[in-house]
Symmetry: D2
Subunit: 342 residues, 4 copies
């Protein structure tokens, strides 16, 4: 049996660990052959492949990014896109497809599976951890670790100069990275896209922190928005996803804090460093297990499914269902964490 693999969307630490696990188990246990498609859906669309055997996956476990390359190519936006994919798969003798990606990438897989009968297995990938069907996605732990380490470092600068430091982290629609790294980093304010923030309240927390002779760290997700909606949009800025970004909320907030509290404030936008480099041990473990279970899905003919983490188990869920709903931060959890604000 010949199985195709592709990685789509933004890169994410752990992609290579998935690829390696799929190939190792597929070749050794099931005798499969593999075809790597380049740059997400562009690969099968244009028939652009790389050989993928055991030597090809040696040494890639600790490497960030994806040896297959990635892109945001959406075959649904190309004329006869799906037909061309089917033809290319047929030409290459590829009988099943393992697609590693987020909502968009897996959405195409659903269409391929549902409408054209292409046997697909999904592996969830989003650094933002906002897929509802799985407890965690790989890459998230690495991003949180990097952001936490940055916040640890910024504390000393904040305190030496008695300044406010605003740290803008990734998270356009969900505040998971902000919430976890803010908590782990001992931030004094954490702002997430799920709940519009009250700039006055933020300033009150900042002021109360100074009153206790400490300098405040404010962690803000890039998608967070003020309630008192006078944020001036900064046009032409692309976010870390390559989309036009609503604003530079970190910079905006630092200026507002300076204006309203009279304290010096600085912004740091962590940006791409959050998604690059070697995956954390947790992400290597999760990504590897996702890969092992994905190839088992193929083996069992269990298509249209996505692997997911539940507790410490890897389970299978329908792809369509898994990508239907964004997993946002529960207001109760946000409130729980709120005890550390101010």
């Amino acid at each position: 049996m010949k199985v195709g693999i592709l990685t789509g969307g933004g890169d994410c630490p752990g992609l290579n660990a998935v690829i390696r696990a799929v190939v190792r188990k597929g070749v050794q246990e099931y005798g499969y052959g593999f075809v790597g498609f380049r740059d997400g859906w562009r690969g099968p669309l244009e028939g652009d492949t790389v050989p993928l055997d055991i030597p090809a996956v040696r040494g890639i476990l600790p490497r960030g990014g994806t040896v297959l390359g990635s892109s945001r190519t959406n075959p649904l936006q190309h004329e006869h896109g799906i037909r061309r994919i089917r033809e290319n798969l047929a030409k290459l003798g590829v009988e099943a497809l393992i697609t590693i990606g987020g909502e968009d990438t897996l959405g195409v897989a659903t269409r391929l599976a549902d409408e054209y009968g292409v046997p697909c297995v999904g592996v969830p990938k989003t650094i933002d951890n906002d897929l509802s069907a799985t407890d965690y996605t790989f890459g998230f732990d690495t991003a949180v670790s990097i952001a936490t380490e940055a916040i640890d470092r910024l504390h000393t600068t904040a305190e030496s100069h008695m300044r406010v430091l605003v740290v803008e982290v990734m998270g356009r629609h969900a505040g998971w990275i902000a919430l976890h790294s803010g908590l782990a980093g001992g931030a004094n304010v954490i702002l997430i896209p799920e709940q519009r923030f009250d700039t006055e309240q933020v300033c009150a927390w900042v002021t109360s922190r100074f009153r206790a002779s400490y300098a405040p760290i404010v962690v803000v997700a890039e998608g967070a928005m003020p309630r008192d909606g006078d944020m001036v949009l900064k046009d032409e800025t692309l976010d870390s996803y390559g989309h036009v970004r609503l604003s530079g909320v970190g910079e905006w907030l630092a200026k507002e804090i300076e204006k309203r509290t009279g304290k010096e404030a600085r912004t740091t936008v962590l940006g791409h460093v959050q998604r690059g480099g070697t995956p954390s041990a947790f992400d290597r473990w999760l990504a590897t297990r996702f890969g092992l279970h994905a190839v088992d899905c193929v083996r069992n003919g269990d298509f249209g499914k996505m692997v997911a983490l539940r507790g410490t188990d890897i389970v299978r869920v329908p792809i369509a269902e898994a990508t239907a709903r964004l997993k946002t931060v529960d207001p109760k959890l946000y409130e729980e964490v709120g005890v550390f604000f101010g």
Copy 2:
């Protein structure tokens, strides 16, 4: 209300995060007062306390170890130990006790609660992750991260010299650290206490790895034992828990591999570095949430319970039940990982 806190057993990254969370929430939301007991059960046994208020927990989140100190003092082994504890608690006006510790520490809490009606709440702590009631314990992720980083480093030495490197990691009764760090570090053999290993099989994996022109890394838990039971015990060695250790299995294995395969082999015993230093972001998150929920147990009068992680939720389980059974590595999981051996 006045609440006592103690940390018992081996130190573990995340203990301070628990203490901080308990105190922050307890003082701010519930108006509690806190008393820190020094060095585990020695504190209440001897009435040795430290003041514990919000200033006392400032800045401790990222610090490893425990500001309260720890010990293996077991009041059950002291004459009238339990009675002395009750008297000291009464004298100090302590109405509830939050005990952070492993099997032994929580076992005493169970006795105190069951037999003497002392209201106790437990927070599980074991770097080995071998408590059955919780998906993970804090400290484990840090230990796995440190071990994985060490294995990453050892690969280059192994390959430059075409040597076998045997890495001995913590885990006397359960192989979780070996399994996770071995998988994440791309080890070629992982040996755990749950399953006696066949030295011939290990040597076969080693040899096959060299045949593929790569140098093998063997990760072995300190409690792993050979099936072909001729391991010479190294007397008088203490393990990282302060107990007499069965053997120096890493050193023994390296010598056997040299003898049987003719290849050079070296051992590295990671030792105490696995349990020291700043907790990982994951462990800070988990430990903080355990602390927040432990103080909620006190608030709800829900005693005799231990907080535990299930998926992404913090739940409450009876302490007695939680410590009854060691959580060992499931043979199926070990087999799943075995695809990477050799």
Copy 3:
């Protein structure tokens, strides 16, 4: 004898290591008493002090920032500033001053020493490594390490998406951080303030890198400027020194590269994370030795001097001379490194 200590200017990893070494040696070997002044020159100007004895410096070696606080207060800009300092020193019985800082801070020390006979010893501090009298300043190695780690991480993102990544690092007047981290991180282009860059040449290197099937990393010091001077200035931006910044050169360059090469480009501005957090082992060593030798200067009555590193030796140079000339990157060294461009 009573000795005052202050830290001025931007914070820098290693400041606490200097303070600890001064106090440890001064108290233990010479029996000195110490007075810490808060927030740079603001401390002696306003008589704002902190007690500084051995317990006060325990545990501060690995901590970034400065326990004394810092500021950019310049007493020369305050009416009777110098006189007020002399009066406050006299009132406190402070007979000598150890000033840890950059050009500005040490400049004041020179004035104090030369014009008013206040016995001063200087310890050089600049994260930018641009003081001519010393081989290296502490903090620089930490900044380079953090920037290098970030560049390591960005490589995988660049290659997964075949994008240009522009990394803006600190360095307003000197390109040391860019040069060292760019070389260590395997950057394909490094741009420094010492030499205006030719945007066309940068684009040619970028294009040639893509031709070799690799994605380019461009490291640019914040003070670098294009030769073809059409860079649009971004007003109101403060650089990491708290001064108005000439431009957001990283963002500007990424846009130019996109426009001229047709390739996607993204910017990451590392910002404050470069100067915060625990110092590297090298910086702890250097800062500690600076501290030990600074207190020896006091002991020897050798005032008006600054400690400096020459090879592996700590030497003494006149403060005035030391701060007279900026140490910029030698064109020959820049050319030597240029072999890796493109």
Copy 4:
């Protein structure tokens, strides 16, 4: 012109950076061809080579170890060893040799150059930093960083349990790693091979540290020896250099401390992790500059020389002279650091 490269002796972070720099500059600027010899002197002895061009050195900068492999093969111990090397070099058309190694490896190069006229250029390599001609060798900073990080971690364990922690680091003949990491890690005692230690004095420091309510960290170089020479040798132990080791001084010392002070003591032997993995930014910089200057030596026909660091300059020194004398820790420097003992 065709140039051979080999790496001999123990592996060391930075070897690949040297190789890459030599090849990049040699090919691009001088049009040289390169031949890589496998496993140190074994390569030219047996004519075992690997192709070495620009694609072969891509991506190796951040990788520890050596892509050429290493060994301790000494051609002087093989019959007609030198003659066979000359014949193999002639057969391959190799006109000059760049040898990267320590005393032993460079010693052979000297013989080859002096007695047989083989044009050799040396690049110093010793993780121990004990070559007299150069301020620093690459690999040393990485080893010190890893050891310092380990010591940082061990502090929390020591203090949580009020135990002595003895950390054994590399350094058979010179105490540089112990001295630098011990100082940077805030150790309370540092023991080096250059000066036999007085166990009673060590115990006095340990006791005094406990008296100040802190737990002591003792850093000991593997080659350190007690003055009161009753150390029981542990036979058959190999040190990290593959030689029979005199003792397990760390373990011995921990037992003595327990016996004499009555305090619990534990040992951690850092071992191979000190020499593996990605080089620090400093080592990448140094190793790269060594490589660039080594190929310049070839270009200038300046043979029999070794590149060396003096301050911030790379200079050339006669190989023979460079390896004649071990660079040990100056007693004055050791005394300077001694202010932190106890």
